[in-house]
Symmetry: C2
């Protein structure tokens, strides 16, 4: 009996899909009559009622209270996403919108990430997250020191992909600015072209011989180390905190406040994205989320790679009632765009 093998026979799947499609669109609990009217399932409301009762028994649907329509459960969405989801490619207008921007002149690299987040949330009407790549794989180009005052220097790190990080650092006691300048010259000469990662691991030691003064080497090493570290920081770009207000789920100010406060915790959000990193698209639905803040949200993540190396993650975050199909294909599309841009910058 196929029913036991798959748990859901074909008609139950059709009903489940219809319920979810409907609910995603209307945000209202769906009842048997409306379902029979809209979707042409070929059976009467009574039959649908029976099926829905079964689906509820099996945990795919939920009743809010006796007598109001059904709402999908996390398990229901999961089944839907894994098997029933109708493909919904990015529309041509949306593609045009995206491509137009990606073709326009970019003035700073971080604008790419900012705008990616903005586009995703504009199209999905949900919050978007873009975790910008660590630069461990970027090739070191040069390091510059600029004196700020007697005790502090500005360090500027550039990589070949055009990423620029600057940071104010305190000089160790006794160190002279000129020493750093000399160090920088040595470093720039020796390490250009190495990846930041390899500099950390091997190359820094190699240039040790070049420097005569042992004490200077140690103190300089630490500050250079910190300068290089700044390149390994991941930046998080957030978009669509205004757009999410269009979702009926956030028509309650308390919920909005709660969500915004959670989103403001940058480290938490980064951790969540990092935890969700998968091979391609990864969908985490409602209860599946570990973090209690997101038990009734879904997160779709896509990671982008270059030459097998993980670069970063983009994500859509919204209520479990989300246009999964659309969000998924959009993320895929943006992912390609982003990878291409980054590749282009790497040339």
């Amino acid at each position: 009996m196929p029913e036991k093998l798959y748990e859901l026979d074909e008609r139950k799947q059709r009903v489940l899909k219809a319920v979810i499609d409907d609910y995603i669109e209307s945000a209202e609990p769906v009842g048997s009559r409306a379902l029979a009217r809209k979707h042409d399932l070929g059976v009467s409301p009574a039959t649908i009622r029976n099926e829905m009762a079964d689906l509820e028994m099996l945990g795919y649907l939920q009743h809010l209270h006796t007598s109001s329509g059904r709402v999908p459960s996390s398990k229901g969405y999961r089944f839907y996403v894994d098997g029933l989801i109708p493909p919904k490619p990015v529309s041509d207008e949306e593609k045009a919108l995206i491509d137009r921007w990606y073709k326009s002149r970019v003035q700073r690299i971080d604008q790419v990430f900012e705008e990616t987040a903005r586009l995703i949330s504009a199209i999905t009407k949900n919050v978007s997250l873009v975790l910008a790549p660590q630069m461990t794989q970027a090739q070191f180009r040069c390091l510059q020191f600029l004196p700020l005052d007697a005790r502090r220097v500005i360090t500027v790190l550039m990589t070949d992909a055009g990423f620029i990080e600057n940071k104010i650092l305190e000089m160790p006691d006794g160190a002279e600015f000129e020493d750093f300048q000399r160090m920088a010259a040595v470093i720039n000469e020796n390490l250009a072209g190495h990846t930041l990662k390899s500099i950390e691991h091997h190359a820094l030691a190699q240039i040790r011989d070049e420097i005569r003064d042992e004490g200077l080497y140690d103190s300089a090493l630490s500050i250079i180390q910190r300068a290089l570290d700044s390149g390994k920081q991941e930046r998080l770009y957030l978009g669509g905190t205004t757009k999410m207000l269009e979702q009926p789920e956030y028509h309650d100010v308390e919920k909005v406040k709660h969500m915004l406060m959670t989103l403001e915790e940058e480290e938490l959000m980064k951790d969540i994205l990092r935890a969700h990193i998968g091979d391609g698209l990864e969908v985490t639905i409602g209860q599946e989320n570990e973090d209690s803040h997101f038990k009734d949200s879904s997160i779709i993540t896509a990671t982008y790679h270059l030459d097998g190396e993980l670069l970063g993650t983009i994500a859509v975050l919204g209520p479990t009632r989300m246009e999964y199909a659309k969000a998924m294909s959009l993320l895929e599309y943006m992912n390609n765009n982003l990878t291409n841009v980054i590749k282009r910058f790497h040339w």
Copy 2:
């Protein structure tokens, strides 16, 4: 008769002040009975009623509908701010909170502005705006070109105050990257120490003689010009979009959406700040705002200067029912802090 001279006799002023104080605190229309109970005005509710009726006649108070308490009008707030406002200095805890941050290590200059915005909104529970200084007065330190691909270069501009701006620019046809590098060398040698403003006006022309090739000079000039222009851009930092939800005025999602969408229009907001620039603290109340989006908001701005030159503006934006006294003294305090930090960076 002093009544006619000042329009409001002393008791009317006391009543007005009491009404506004009360309303700012409670966000509820205030009635005569409650007023008589809380504030010790020494007269009966009936008298207060008469006074309030007069104040309404004169335009200082408003009736929402017959029979509910009074609410201050823009004119009422204006009188309050200009003369009745009780001084409310920044509390010691707040000062400690602020000073703690300002003393901590800053890693990038823009963090100063970001954090200033964050602190202002955390304390006032309102939206804050920080317009970071143009760098026209900053001294040029150096300009660097980095090749990005065949047609584009990254330009990095640094000033003595540690501001760093980077920008991707397209090279004019026929120009070679090496040319720019040579140009940069000439420029860096000749223009270090000049202000960006003076470079624009005079100095660029002066170095013309140094460059032999006329065609190169022209094309290089344009790109350098654009690089320098990036230093003149004003950046706007926004804070407290989450904090503002604590105000009862924004307990309605539609209003929140509307406000957030307006705030997202960066150029509009910059224009508003620029228009409000005054000598010191400037308060614009409700109807006084030119922009229709802010007819029921108040904006308090403070501008910070250095050596007589305008640097930027910080502002609090909130509903007309706002703790003016607190916001004003806070802005003043932050203004000093910010000026000091910038001065320190200029050293």
